[in-house]
Structure formats: C-alpha cells, structure tokens
C-alpha cells in the first residue's frame, strides 16, 4: 500500500504515550506503525475508518467519500487541548 512512507514522516517526532510524554520512534518503528495504521483502516468495515494510536488519530476515506474521483486519503491528527488538528494527509492507492 503506497503512502506509508509519507505517513511515517508525519508520525515521527509527534507521537506520544498515554500521559502525553514524547515517544521517540526510529524510522523503522514509524514505518511499521504507518503500515499497521493503513492496513487496519482499509481492512475495516466500520464507518468512518478512524483509529487512535500512540496519541494520534488517523482517519481514512475511500475514493468518492471525500470528493468525487479522489484517491483514498488518510489524515493524521493531534488533539491540541481544544480540538483535533490535522498534521497532514497522504494519498493512498489501494
């Protein structure tokens, strides 16, 4: 599944544990997390495809759910104390 590399780059440096402490991830660990996130999201039957891991939230859209003719998308988000803010989005081809 493409997009894992870009997602790993977003994740690195922002992941944290349950108590909010920074969670340093090696490039390989970030990549593994990104792949697991994508795999889980797109194999899910749930709506919406949403997953919380390592203090972050990931939301996925199939083509046409977000905008007509778009690729599949995954958003990475972080809670800033008031709201969930987007860290970035990656395009994924399934």
């Amino acid at each position: 599944m493409s997009g894992a590399k870009e997602l790993a780059q977003i994740i690195r440096g922002v992941a944290h544990d349950e108590k909010g402490r920074p969670l340093p991830l090696t490039p390989a660990e970030a990549m593994a997390l990104a792949e697991e996130v994508l795999e889980t999201l797109f194999s899910s039957e749930e709506w919406p495809r949403m997953l919380e891991r390592s203090g972050l939230r990931f939301v996925a859209f199939l083509p046409e759910e977000w905008e007509l003719g778009s690729p599949a998308l995954v958003f990475a988000q972080q809670w800033d104390g008031q709201s969930w803010v987007n860290l970035g989005r990656v395009e994924v081809s399934l």
């Binding site: 939301v59 859209f61 998308l73």
Partner: protein, 290 residues
C-alpha cells in the same frame, strides 16, 4: 423506459469543507443512497439546509437546494411543500440550528404536520463557530463558552417530539449507515412530518461524544424485546429510561398530513395552476361589500 437513478446523479463536484471523519459524511452518503433506493429524481427533491457545518450538506448533493438563514429551515420547507406538493422535501440542519435558534419553529412544525422530513445532524457542539456549547451538549461538557462545564440541561428533542403528537420520530447514528438508510426511507415515505435526529459526532471539538462512545452506549430498538413503534407512551418511556441513547424508528403512526386537512387544497401543485384571475370573480368579491 424507466430512468434509473444512481449515486452519481446525487453527487456534486464540490470539495468537502467538513473535517475528516465528520459524522455528516455518513449522513450525506446515507441520504444519497436513500434517494437512489427510492428512485427519486434529483430535480424532484428539495433540500432545505440551515446554518452550521451540517448546513453545508446542500453543497454536496445534486438536487434543488436552498440554504436558509440560521434556524429557519422548517418554515422555508413548509413554503416549498405547500407551493409544490409533488416535491420530496427534506429540511436538514444541526442541533444548534434546530434546537436553539430554530426551536420555536421546531415545536410548531411538529404540530403543523406538513409532509416533509426533518433531518437533524446532532453533534452536541457548535462546530462551525469553533466549539461552543450547544443545546444538546451534556451537562458538565467543557467548551470554549462553558469553561467551567455546561451548567444547563440538554434539550431532549425525541421526548419533545413524542410529546408533541407528531406521527414519526426516529433516531439514527451516522456510524451506522445501513440502519440510517432504512430510517430515512421510512421517513421520506411517511405522509406527514417525520423527525430523524441523527447522532453525528463532531470529530474536532467533541472528545466526549465520540463514535466509540456511541457504539458502546446506543441500543437499536430492534434489539429491545417487545418494542412497539405504535406505542407512544412506551416510546417515551424507553427514550427517557435510556437517556435518549436509542436508535431506530421510535414511533410511527399513520394519519393525515396538513395538506390532507387544508380546505380546498388541490392535488395539482400550486405552482402548476394558472394564476390569472377573471373579471367575474373580481365582481363577485366586490359584490360582498355592497
């Protein structure tokens, strides 16, 4: 040859303004699927949207849309339906639009009973204005306008509707799209005012009333043994006992809509009638004042 309506007919090329994961996506796709399943033609559907995140639904669905002033979907929808009774009329808005600024119209639309569907995307928070308390927010809910926690009791739309005497009351959950489609189909086909309150989580400003929370907390009426959708009192009891955390068609009773009761209201829509007036009619009217 019958025209077949597909999902593509109801889509628009608009980019979404909603946040990723917003419950309103679920509502939108459920509504589009419902209209396809019912084979309603897009030009015979009118959607009346309010102000708020949910009010943007008209941008994303191809049919006749009107985006009203804040809180006024129901009277606008009333005017459309009376003017053209052949249309499928759906008012759609959020909990702030419907249960705060539009509450006056809500109560009266329930008892007026014009044939339309009212779809409320209820997320317990003001999203578009960035996270203030809403009329359906839980007591204690902390927002930018309730830093000490919400001191007021939430509005209970299902109980209000059941008490009003309206004939169709339902609640859906945007995480459960298949059930929502069934509810919407029944609501649109119901002759009269149909309330469909949809729990539609705000994924940006509400960390309490989340999808996970609702999946845990909600019960479908079909899973409640002996639930009878014709029993108004039973519905009220169930809704009250379960603090409103129940989905499905809660109450449905057939009866005449306002259009069936209006004196002289014609089958032919007003917009199709010849509006010219005859001199002899004018003469007869003036005769009454002689």
């Amino acid at each position: 040859m019958a025209i077949t309506v597909t999902m593509a007919d109801y889509r628009t090329a608009e980019k979404s303004w909603w946040c990723p994961g917003c419950g309103d996506f679920g509502v939108l796709s459920a509504l589009q699927k419902t209209l396809v399943d019912l084979q309603r033609l897009p030009h015979e559907v009118a959607i009346i949207a309010g102000i708020g995140c949910s009010g943007k639904i008209g941008n994303y669905i191809n049919c006749y849309n009107i985006h009203t002033t804040h809180g006024r979907t129901l009277p606008v929808a009333t005017g459309i339906k009376l003017a053209n009774r052949d249309l499928t009329v759906i008012a759609a808005g959020g909990d702030g639009d419907g249960y705060a600024i539009g509450m006056g119209h809500f109560m009266h639309a329930l008892r007026r009973n014009v044939d339309m569907t009212y779809l409320v995307m209820d997320n317990h928070v003001y999203g578009l204005t960035k996270g203030q308390v809403s009329p359906t927010s839980d007591a204690g809910f902390i927002t930018s306008s309730t830093p000490q926690g919400n001191l007021e009791k939430p509005v209970r739309p299902l109980e209000l509707a059941l008490a009003s005497g309206v004939g169709f009351v339902a609640q859906g959950f945007s995480g459960w799209v298949p059930q929502l489609i069934e509810i919407l189909k029944a609501a649109i086909e119901y002759r009269g005012f149909a309330l469909v309150n949809v729990i539609s989580p705000c994924v940006t400003y509400n960390k309490v009333n989340t999808y996970d929370y609702y999946r845990e907390a909600l019960t479908k009426v079909e899973d409640i043994p002996g639930y009878d959708e014709k029993d108004r009192l039973g519905a009220l009891k169930t809704v009250m006992e379960r603090e409103g955390l129940v989905t499905g068609i809660l109450y449905r009773e057939e009866g005449p809509a306002l259009e069936d009761l209006l004196p002289g209201f014609r089958e032919e829509p007003i917009v199709s009638q010849d509006l010219r007036f005859r001199q002899e009619d004018l003469k007869a009217l003036l005769e009454e004042h002689r």
